[in-house]
Symmetry: C2
């Protein structure tokens, strides 16, 4: 027998001088599938902390079993696992599913797009959430921001990139939309499983790769073989997401829904803080232990070519799909206003104080 | 009779086929004093949302009565109101209390200090929280981050500042430590109640003032009379705080404590996002409606003089107080590492893409 909200209500008033309500409380269990392997820093740990928070806040009424990719074996199948109800929740990134649902592309990060805080402002106050709902609701999925890495670095290169010519036939591990952009300017984007990245770079199977940033790059060791570390252009604020089976979420009592939403938002915030902290500490280690690392930015000519390719691809997407057009225009409009403010605030502060 | 955790535990097992615990639940009421007036955008609204969240998450077991400064009449007395137990909680900013407890100065924002995310990383992962606890625990107060404004602007000036000479005897509304810094280079900092700021500037009682940034400056109207708007140096990431009477917090059940901590962290995150959004929208309005606004940065000569004065003042503080020394050194060490990362991530991205 499924007990849905025990109806037994007993007033303590007869026993105590203060009126107190006694509620029989059902306990709930949710299963969460995450894209990440067990123990992955920053990502798995964010999800584990989220599950602990929910259990504590609900005083044990709601527990969440977290299954890593080691268990469910479908790291990039979390969308389907949650849609079908095999799992109640997921933790993944939206752009992994662009092959299945093209408009999921826009809700992680975009090349030359918004930084984490600009994107958060767009999502919560600029219409972003409503557009993301339009993409996911036909699949009976609810989404919630799941944690930001901050600006991702442009990657590790064995040779310096001085012009667009240097990109011709350059074999680079860079997945997703950014790979399409690079292909359009003449590079050869490839995707390689994380476990094979170091060896591929070492054996010259690839010439370059991007991963995340100092937060997660240090342990990968790429700096030992590809000393040119480029500043970012392709993932200026990658936000992961929580997925929820809509029917399952709606079946929960309202207080547990609110607890879940609060805990997910905290997880999102905390991951961004933890990523910043890890990058700070790891970058200091890398600078100290590997003084040969060369930080570079792509020359303006290269960035202009990438931006042009990026804008052309977006135009094509917008021409093919009215919802894509709506999303692209909403992002472009908000981003231009947000960037105008960022340039007089964060950028202005950093620019004028960096050489004092 | 005070009912402290109703002890009546009844198992539903006898009634239903599923084991369910019945807990008699006490309800709790907390009183919160905020520094802000009723209806103040961004600040009062952050606290109201926090109180609503707590009530929903606790299913009504915990309610928070928010008293604005209009009610308790002590906007800058929240520290004492919570320490004495007249209120259980507060929402205010740490640096308002530097006259009473000098080391509270360091936990809002510091001139030439960390940005919001750098400071969050320091607070949560770099020892900041432990140092803040050292300052507040002797007063039986717990503190929690309470929301960031982002980089505050350097203020509105009627005349352009071209050199340190232009600062001599300049009457500027700028409170706190930044005022001390300005005084040391020859300006005359004054403090004026918010309601009198516009008139003071209009009637030449002051030559310049700083308030927050586009988020809250637009409604004040300063741009109509002082067109030079300077980028920030003195408050690169102002974080408000929640204060809690320690005994009161510890008397609450653990699940409600966790709910409170989660809701406070959400409030902190959300205020930063809302401030970014408000600044984005308001700055776009100001640019459109007041094309005469002139954005400027202080010349390097001026910033160097301010930085030198700032460092001298910090040296004096550190020499006078071992805990101040510990805090200043912890911030300086973490900030230098965090900034090295910020410069290759956020700054690198903004710098290389701003002219594409």
């Amino acid at each position: 027998m499924k007990l849905k909200g025990c109806l037994l209500l007993v007033s303590c008033a007869a026993l105590f001088s203060q009126s107190t309500t006694v509620l029989a409380e059902e306990t709930y269990k949710l299963r969460l599938a995450e894209t990440w392997p067990t123990g992955m820093p920053l990502l798995d740990s964010t999800v584990q902390t989220f599950a602990d928070d929910v259990e504590k806040m609900s005083n044990g009424r709601l527990t969440i079993r977290v299954d890593s990719a080691n268990k469910h074996k479908a790291p990039l199948g979390v969308f389907d696992l949650v849609k079908s109800g095999q799992y109640d929740m997921g933790h993944t990134a939206s752009y992994y599913y662009k092959g299945k649902v093209p408009n999921t592309l826009y809700f992680t990060t975009m090349p030359f797009g918004m930084t984490a805080m600009e994107q958060h402002a767009w999502y919560y106050y600029g219409g972003g959430k409503e557009l993301m709902d339009k993409v996911y609701q036909p699949h009976n999925l609810l989404t919630f921001p799941g944690g930001n890495t901050g600006v991702q670095m442009g990657g590790w290169f064995r040779e310096e990139i001085k012009s667009v010519d240097d990109l011709q036939n350059l074999k680079m591990r860079i997945p997703g939309f950014a790979g399409e952009v690079l292909a359009r300017v003449g590079a050869t984007p490839v995707n390689i499983p994380p476990a094979e990245l170091y060896t591929s770079l070492e054996r010259n199977t690839i010439d370059a790769l991007e991963w995340v940033g100092p937060s997660l790059d240090l342990r990968m060791g790429f700096h030992k073989i590809a000393p040119y570390y480029y500043t970012g252009w392709h993932e200026p604020g990658s936000e992961n997401m929580f997925l929820f089976n809509e029917e399952k979420f709606n079946s929960l009592p309202e207080d547990l829904q609110t607890i879940l939403v609060s805990a997910m938002k905290n997880a999102s915030f905390n991951m961004y803080i933890e990523a910043t902290s890890m990058s700070t500490v790891n970058w200091a280690s890398m600078l100290q232990d590997f003084p040969d690392i060369q930080v570079r930015s792509f020359p303006p000519e290269v960035l202009k070519a990438l931006k042009k390719a990026n804008d052309e691809l977006l135009e094509e997407h917008a021409a093919n799909d009215p919802l894509a057009k709506e999303i692209i225009e909403s992002q472009r409009d908000f981003a231009s206003k947000a960037r105008a403010y960022t340039l007089i605030s964060d950028y202005g502060y950093l620019e004028t104080t960096k050489d004092l």
